[in-house]
Symmetry: C2
Subunit: 183 residues, 2 copies
C-alpha cells in the first residue's frame, strides 16, 4: 500500500499534535505511535514541516467539515448557532486548531500559518452567514460572529488553564444569555 503508510503517519501526527503541539512532537514519537519505520517517514515526508503541513491541513478539513454540517444545515439560523455553541467539546484539551496559534513551528511557517488562518476565516464566515439570515446587517453579523467564535476559543483557553470543563460552559451560557436578552 503506497499510500497506507502515509495515511497512518498523518493520523499519528494529528493525535500527537492535539496532545502536545507541532513543535514538541518529534519524528521519533510519530514513528513509535504509527508503528511505521524511519525510512518510510522520510520517504513520504522529507522534513518535519512536510508532515506537519499534511496533518494540520487534514485537521483543519475535518474540523471545518463538522462545523459546516451544523452551521450550514437546514434548521433555523438561531438553532444552528445555538447548536454550534452548545456542541459537546473536550474543553480541557483545548482547540486542536486554536492551540496552534501558540506553536512556534506553525507560526514560523507560511504554509502552516495559512492553514490556521483558513480555518478561522471560513469558520467566522459560516457563523456570520447564520447571523445575517437572522436579519443583522453584514458588519454587525461579522462582529457578532467574531465574538461567538472568540467565546469558544476563549472558552477552550480558560477550560485548559483552570483544568475545568465548566469554564467553557459558563462562557457559552453567558453569551447565550446576552443573545437571548436581545431577542
Amino acid at each position: 500500500m503506497t499510500t497506507e503508510a502515509r495515511r497512518i503517519l498523518i493520523e499519528a501526527a494529528q493525535e500527537l499534535y492535539a496532545a502536545n503541539g507541532v513543535a514538541a512532537t518529534t519524528p521519533r514519537e510519530v514513528l513509535a505511535r504509527s508503528g511505521v519505520g524511519q525510512g518510510s517517514l522520510y520517504h513520504h515526508f522529507p522534513s518535519k514541516r512536510d508532515l506537519a503541513a499534511a496533518a494540520v491541513a487534514q485537521t483543519v478539513d475535518d474540523t471545518l467539515g463538522s462545523a459546516t454540517a451544523t452551521l450550514h444545515g437546514p434548521a433555523e439560523p438561531q438553532l444552528r448557532i445555538t447548536d454550534y455553541l452548545e456542541r459537546p467539546r473536550a474543553a480541557t484539551a483545548g482547540c486542536r486548531v486554536g492551540r496552534l496559534t501558540a506553536d512556534p513551528v506553525v507560526m514560523g511557517d507560511d504554509t502552516l500559518r495559512g492553514e490556521v488562518s483558513r480555518y478561522f476565516t471560513e469558520l467566522i464566515e459560516l457563523v456570520a452567514q447564520a447571523f445575517a439570515e437572522q436579519g443583522l446587517d453584514a458588519a454587525a453579523a461579522r462582529d457578532r460572529a467574531t465574538t461567538a467564535v472568540a467565546v469558544i476559543q476563549g472558552g477552550y483557553v480558560l477550560s485548559r488553564a483552570l483544568d475545568d470543563d465548566t469554564a467553557m460552559r459558563s462562557a457559552v451560557r453567558g453569551l447565550l444569555e446576552l443573545l437571548g436578552a436581545e431577542a
Copy 2:
C-alpha cells in the same frame, strides 16, 4: 549586585517567553539576550523550570496588577468593564499568559500550571465583581465575566491566527453591542 543578575535573567526570559513560549526558549537564548554568563544562570536557577517558574509568576503578577487597576478602580462598574474590554492590546502577539495554555513545558509542570490557573481565576473574579455591582446575581455575573474574559482570550487567538488586530476589535465590538442592547 547579588540580585541584579537574577532580575535581568527574569526580564529576558519574560520577553522570550512572550515571543516564543517557554518550551521553545533555550537557556542559551536567555543568556544571549540577558548578557549574563552561563555560570550565573545556573547559579540562580538550577534548571530551566526554576527560571520559568520565576518569570511566569512575574508576568502573571504584572498582568493581574494592571487589570486590577482598571477593574477595581473608582469609576462606575459599567465604565470599568468597557475600559477593560477596549484597552489597547498587541492582539497579534497573543496573550502572554493565555498562550501558555498551549505550552507543553508549562502544562507539564504543576507550579507553572498553577500560575496560569491563578491568573484566570483572579481575572474572572475581578470582572465578575464589576458585573455583580451592576445588579446581576452571583451566578449570572460569573457566567458573564467568563464570557467577557473568553472574548478577550479568543480575540487574541483570532488576531494571531489571522495576523490582524481588527479581529480583537471586532470581537469586543460584538460583545459591547450585546451588553449595550441588554441595558
